[in-house]
Each structure stands twice: as C-alpha cells, then as structure tokens.
Amino acid sequence: MSTTEVSPFSPPSGESQQPVVNDFSIQVATVNGSGSQTANNVLMRSIFQMGVPVSGKNMFPSNIQGLPTWFTIRASKHGYIGRKKEVDFLVAMNPETAREDVMSLDAGAAVVYDEPLKLNALRSDLHFYPVPFDKLVGPVCPEAKLRKLVRNMIYDGIVAWILSIELEEVHKALFRQFGKKKAKAAELNWGACQAGFDYASKTFVKTDPYRIERMNATGGKIIIEGNMAAALGCVFAGVTVVTWYPITPSSSLVEYLIGYLKRFRVDKETGKATYAVVQAEDELAAIGMVLGAAWAGARSVTSTAGPGISLMSEFVGLGYYAEIPAVIFDVQRVGPSTGLPTRTAQADILSTALLSHGDTKHPLLFPCSPEECFQMAIQAFDLAEQYQTPVFVMTDLDLGMNNWMADPFEYPTEPIRRGKVLTAEDLAKLGGFARYKDVDGDAVGYRTLPGTPHPNAAYFTRGSGHNEKAQYTEREDDYVNNMDRLARKFETIRAHVPRPEVDIRPSAQVGFVAFGTSHYGVEESRDQLRSEHALETSYLRLRAYPFTQELRDFIRRHERVYVIEQDRDAQLLQLIRMEFDPAEIAKLRSVRYYGGLPLDARTITDHVVLQEGL
C-alpha cells in the first residue's frame, strides 16, 4: 500500500466499495477566526439546493481567534438531521488537530488535507486527497492579507469535485451567502472555489465511495438558526420591550430581533420605533426591566443562558408572587463561568422549573425545531399575559446557533391574547376591583395598568404578603389562600400549555420520553433499534412543563419508559418523579448524555441496548 507523497491519492484498503450516496457526514476542521464559517455554510447550502436533506453543526471554542473548530455537515437521504458521531469525510485544515482528527476516523473514510501536513503518512486505510492550498491561493488572491480567508473557499471546490456537488449550486450558494453588497468578495471567493475544483479534476482520481446525487427532498424548505426563528416569533408576537445582556449562545437571538424590529417595526410615517430595546448592565437588570415593563403593560422579553438564569432568580420569584408576565428565553449551554460556554446542554431544566426562593414553579416550553422556536415564542407571550406569570422558553445552543432545515413558518392565525386587563370603562361599570381575587374560578385575577384614567384603577404591587385586594398583610390565612390560589393557577396553566407529540406503537412495551433537540437522536435511534434489534418503541416528545395527562397515559401504557436527556443528573426524570405515583416512577429508566455535543442516535441506542440486555 503506497502512502508516498508523490502519489496523487492514497488507495483504500480492501477492495472497491459500493458507492455511498447522500448518507454520510463531512467534517471540516479549521482554526477559529479563519473565515471557514462562510465556506462551510456554502457547502451545506449547495447540498441542500441539490434536494438532499442536510444539517450543519458548528463545534466552536470559546475564543475569537486561534483555537480549533469543527463544522460537521450531515447529508441524509432518510432525513436524519441529528448529529452523526462517525466522520466519513474529513477536511483537515488545522495543523494542530489534524493528526488526532485523522487517527479518530473509521477505516475507509476520506481526507482532504493541506499537503504540507503529510497526513497520508499516518494511516493506510483511508482515502487521502492532498491539496497545496498555499500554492493555489496565491494566483486567485493577489492581496496577501485576504489569503487566510479565501483559502477556505478552495476546499469547497475540492469537495464539490470529489463528492459530485454541482458547481452551479455552489456558485448560487456562494453569491447568496455574500449578498449583493459584497459582490467583489463573492467574485474573489468564487475564483478560489473554481481553482480548487480545477485542481481536483486535473489531479485526483476518486477512490472514496461518497457521493451527493440530486434528490427532491428539500423543496420549499428554508435553512434557519433557532435563534433567528425565535427572534421572528417575538416580532410576530408583537413584542414591545426587549432587554438583554450579551451571553453565548443567546446573544444572536436578540441581535436578530433588533434587526427585524428595525426593519418591520419603525412607523413609516413618523420614523419612530414601536419598541424599545435595552442592553442592560447585567441579567438582574434585564429581568427587572422586563418585569417593570410588563407590569406597566408592555409585551416584554429577555433572552439569556444558564448563568443569566441564575442571576434572574430573585426577580423571577417576585414575578411569580406579584403575578407579572414575562417571557424569558434560555438558550442552554454547558456549565457555569468559563465552563463550556460554546457547547450544548439541557441542564437548566430542573433549576429553571423551580427558579427562585420560596415555593415557586414556572411554565417551561420546549421547542425542538426552528418552527417551534417561532410558534412557542408567540405562545409564550400569550401564556405569560393570560396567566400573569414568567414563562421560560428552553432552547439550547444546538438549536439556537446551528443551521436547520425547516418548513417555512405559518403566519399566526390566532389573535394576540393579552389576558385579563381592566380598562377605565370596565372600572366605571364595576366601581372597583380586587387584584388577586379569583373571580372566574380559574385562579387568575384581573389587573389594571399604571396610567389607567380612573381613581380606582391603582393597586400596590409587592411580593408574597398581600391579600386579594393587594393590601399588605402578614396574616396566616391570607398567605395560605394566596399560595393555594397560585397552585390552582398552575393547574389552569397545565390545561393550556402545548401538548406533547405522541407516537404510540401498539406492540411496543418500551417508551421513550424526550424534549427539545434530543428529538433527532431519539427518532434515529428508534429506527436503529427496530432494524438492528427488532425493538419497537413508542415515543412521547414533551413540549412543555407542567406535564399533561398524555405523559401519565404514556407511562401507564408502557412497561419501561426511557427518559432521554442532555444532562448528568436526570433532571427531566426528577421533575417527572415530583408529580407521579410510585408505580409510574418505577417504570422510568434514564438515558443521559452530557458531553457538550448534540446528542447522537448511537449514544442512545447503545444505552438502551445495554439496559434492555439486547
């Protein structure tokens, strides 16, 4: 087996393989800040434009420039868009990680690499494609300081040739990515891309089995990040006050929101904004401003990640007791401080459900897709205002910051629901009101907004010690009555949160319960278990806390129920335990992943196979 440098390619071990079409993953290993994101997005979109289902996951460090970063593109004719553990096609651009990247590949994988790295010397069971990037970039990019950025576009051309990605689609994706304003940069990059393609076609003989072939499975679909989808949801929910403190991976949600607000919410006649956005001094101020604004009647939102949620804890408790609407996005990430701020997790669930001191509990919504980020943003505002309480939308870094294939969003058909707010006219008829009185039997009182022109409109807002008329009290019975009504209000909320999505297989004794982005690994794992182990499973995807009757029915129906989640301590399972009977709890099993990468199917399958003794 020849692995010498003079060889234009390294032949694979073993006999020639069957072609692998539209079912493999590409990993691009680069250095953070080298401009590879553009090249990677162009590559992903080119495959998407060829009608092949695709997903892109960026694994990046907490760093602006210099540390290693990996971008994984998965093409899947079956439509699986979860992370795939195994890398089939590697583009090794980062000298620091190249060796480890190559050593971790399965036999038969393909490697495009920067020729001086001499990676072909490492193994003999891979398909190697060495590319002299520095030699190629010179002629297409005379300006030396731009070469670092432009050289990445060369691998798009190389990969396009090797995988049979149509060059017209790469061209289309590239010019779309740069937009009309950066036409000059687009031309420069297109030159680099072409140079790569030409080099590959003249130099290489294709030995690997991987190919992209045109399909028709992405027609009408869009590619969007979850944070962008959530931002759009806020815009179409009619948000008026937005507060935030920058934090990865939540910042882009508000940055997209600012962009859309500027575009769609500036009055054309007056040139004035119908919204206010405040970059607060910290998350304590951000949630305080949201509560102040919502108290005074604005549709208010803030977005953060776990550390911000912790800082908001005190104010959220006040929001719960004073019964003030608030919408809070938690784009979850790993751990505190300088943990793994650029890696994904679902580990804020338990602490957020019960956030703050005293007896507090909060509705949580669990979007799993950009469509749901959009829809649930709107639902969150309605729930918050109808039930006068903070509502959390629990997304995560994987959903928020990665590109997802999605169906275009439907314009909301439901009216905006602003809850029980009395106007001056209402007060004129009623004479007065008691802020925390359960008039309608749903445990939700009527409120008035500051500025309501009526002498009986005012009430005094404070924490837990108040009676039905919002008057200060430390009486035991007043406190207990209020606490009991708040508990009843949570039951009203339970009846109105989004229901889970349930797929019952009549023969299945095993059920899966998961939420959010765990969905994609779960769906694929169910197929793996069926085809590899003849294990049929039912599946309930939770879309909200508090849990609804569907979950109880699901647990009762199955012998064993695996609660699958991305945290160490089985937080979702613990939350379920709090509400369920011992017989139901006894059926629960746990599958946890907490490595910071998006949950993949194989991890779930391996855990279940072990626990089921298959």
Binding site: A273, V277, A285, G288, G292, G297, A298
Partner: protein, 347 residues
C-alpha cells in the same frame, strides 16, 4: 334635628381634587422618622401642582424608605420591588408607558450598596424619572448597621466607628449623567418642596438625596446623620422658588440676583444664590462644592446641578409618542407579507 351651619366648601386643587386623593395609607414607620416628612411633602407637591394621581407610577426597592410609597398617592399604581433593583423596574415601566410620571423612593442601603450598579446605569440613561434617596446612613429594618453613605468617623449606637469613606450619591449622579441633582434635608420643608416640584417639572433623571434622620438607630451624639447634626450643619446653597407653568409669574419678583431655569413643562425654577458665584449648570463647580463641604463637615443643600438640554433615554431610543403598552396590534404585529418576505430570503 339640630340645625348646623353648612360645612365650608371643600378645598380642591386646580384639577378639582381634594388633598385626600393624594394621601396614602397610614405610615408604619417610627414616630419622628424623617421619611414621614418626605411623604408629606410628596402629597403636598402633587396636590399643589394638580397632577392626576392615576398618571403617576411610584416604585421602590426594599428598606424603610421603600415602604413609603404606600403612604402617599394612594390612587397611583405602586410597586415595591426587590432590594437595590428599583432602577430596573422603573426603566421597564417608563419604557412601557412614557406618558407616566415616575417617582421612585429608595434608601442609602438600596442605592449605595446593593443597588449601586443599577443606580449608576440609571444615571447614565437619563431616564425621565424622579429618584429620591431617603438617606439616613444606616439600615433600619435590620436594626442599625452602617450603610455606605455613613460618614467617616460616624459612630453607631453600639459604639462602632465607621472607618470607610462614604459614597456621595450626588457626586455619583453628577459623574454618571443625571440632569437634575439636589441634596436637601427632610426637616427643611420649604427647600424640599421647591426641589420636589422642580423635579416633577424636569424632563430627565432627577436625583434628590434627602438627609432623613433615623430617630431609632442613628439620631444620637456622634452620628453625622442625626436630626440635630443636620440642622446645625445645614448650609443652603441657594434660596429656591418654584413657579409652576400655570401661574402668573409677574406677581412675585424676588429680591437680589436671581437665576431662572426654564423647565420642560414651562415652569420656572428661580435660584437666588447664597454662595456667590455658584453655578448650578457647572458639574465641576458642583463636585468641588460637594468635596469642600465633605471636608468641612457641612451639609450643603440645594440644587447642585441642572441641565435641561441633554436628551432623555426615550429620545435616544427614538420611541413613538404613544405608550408601547397599549399600541394596537396593527402597529405591533407586522403583516403576513413581512413574514413571507423573510421566508423567501431563507429558501
């Protein structure tokens, strides 16, 4: 049935409301607390100026001072928030409805310790809002610990001496961007009234640091925030006279050299200097005066600084004139064509 004389006609203000419409519930603070005097001045000023109680939002943090919004303006919405974080609540409320007249009450613990960060950022933003600090140098509700405004060398009842330099809330206000900065004394009825009225008329952030003695924990010999110390050491910068926009101003002409500050609503603040050459439009002069007073142990009171030209936070945000809270859906939910356009761009 006995015959009695008809009751005298009830006294009302210029919008036909009695003073009762401006009162709150009975105070639960200690007898003689300076804070009660401040609440009384608030009631009087809003009554005098004929402000609709429902157009006012009153907010506070936590502490003795923060209890007081319950004791004035009972027909105004009130919000007793969390410790040190009233500025955030106030900012949100004022953004939601910019037509509200916002008044906040905090204490020295609330402002200068736990809430120092929020206070400084509120100053930066020049939110149109009245920010009253009821400053007594101690924590009352937790029974008499020093706060961060306690003066160097001031002594607690327990004999503990303060060895840390104080934060001067007015100096901070000047440095951080407040546009109306005053210090006064809860026992100085005339000055407090004029300053409060000017703050009500001001379009921007007004900081009023009111030395308000704590009769229970900080009114003893050795305290520099006691009633007698403040009374003995008060040094007014000016004589102040507030002339509301609806009054005929030609009637009174004060004696001596008078500076007239035109307020946003057309009212006028007439300032007659007691300290020759003091210029209340100069931050530098104000900071120097505060520094000198601090060294000499004087309690320098009056309007330190006023700037009626700096843009407010609402101006900076280019906000529409109508309250955001009650904008119609037609203005808050963009049409279907907007969503379709975005979707098309993402295909």
């Amino acid at each position: 049935m006995s015959t009695t004389a008809a009751p005298p006609p009830k006294k009302v203000n210029r919008i036909g409301l009695e003073i009762l419409s401006y009162k709150g519930s009975r105070t639960t603070l200690c007898a003689g607390c300076g804070h009660n005097a401040i609440s009384e001045r608030v009631v009087e000023c809003f009554y005098d100026l004929g402000i609709q109680p429902w157009s006012v939002a009153k907010l506070s943090g936590i502490g003795c001072s923060s209890k007081t919004p319950a004791y004035f303006l009972g027909q105004s919405h009130g919000f007793n928030g969390v410790h040190g974080r009233m500025p955030a609540l106030a900012t949100g409320a004022m953004l939601a409805n910019r037509t509200l007249l916002g008044i906040g009450v905090t204490g020295d613990g609330d402002t200068a310790s736990i809430g120092l960060g929020q206070y400084m950022h509120l100053l930066r933003r020049n939110l149109p809002f009245i920010y009253i600090i009821e400053n007594n140098g101690v924590y009352g509700l937790t029974k008499g610990q020093f706060s961060a405004t306690a003066d160097l060398g001031s002594v607690l009842k327990t004999g503990v001496i303060n060895e840390l330099p104080p934060f001067d809330c007015c100096a901070l206000a000047l440095q951080c961007g407040a546009t109306f900065v005053a210090r006064t004394f809860s026992g100085d009825k005339k000055q407090l009234t004029a300053i409060l009225k000017a703050a009500i008329a001001h379009n921007g952030l007004s900081v009023i640091d009111v030395i308000s003695p704590c009769t229970t924990f900080n009114d003893h010999e050795g305290s520099t925030k006691s009633y007698s110390y403040t009374k003995d050491h008060e040094e007014p910068l000016q004589e102040l006279d507030f002339v509301p926009f609806y009054e005929d101003i030609s009637a009174e002409v004060p004696e001596g050299e008078v500076m007239e500050v035109q307020m946003h609503d057309g009212s006028k603040l007439r300032i007659r200097n007691l300290h020759p050459d003091y210029d209340p439009t100069s931050k530098f002069a104000a900071l120097q005066a505060i520094d000198e007073a601090g060294k000499s142990g004087e309690v320098l009171t009056g309007v330190y600084y006023v700037d009626t030209t700096r843009p407010t936070f609402m101006d900076m945000l280019n906000m529409t004139d109508a309250p955001l809270a009650t904008l119609p859906v037609s203005q808050t939910r963009p049409p279907k064509s907007a969503l379709d356009q975005v979707m098309e761009e993402l295909r």
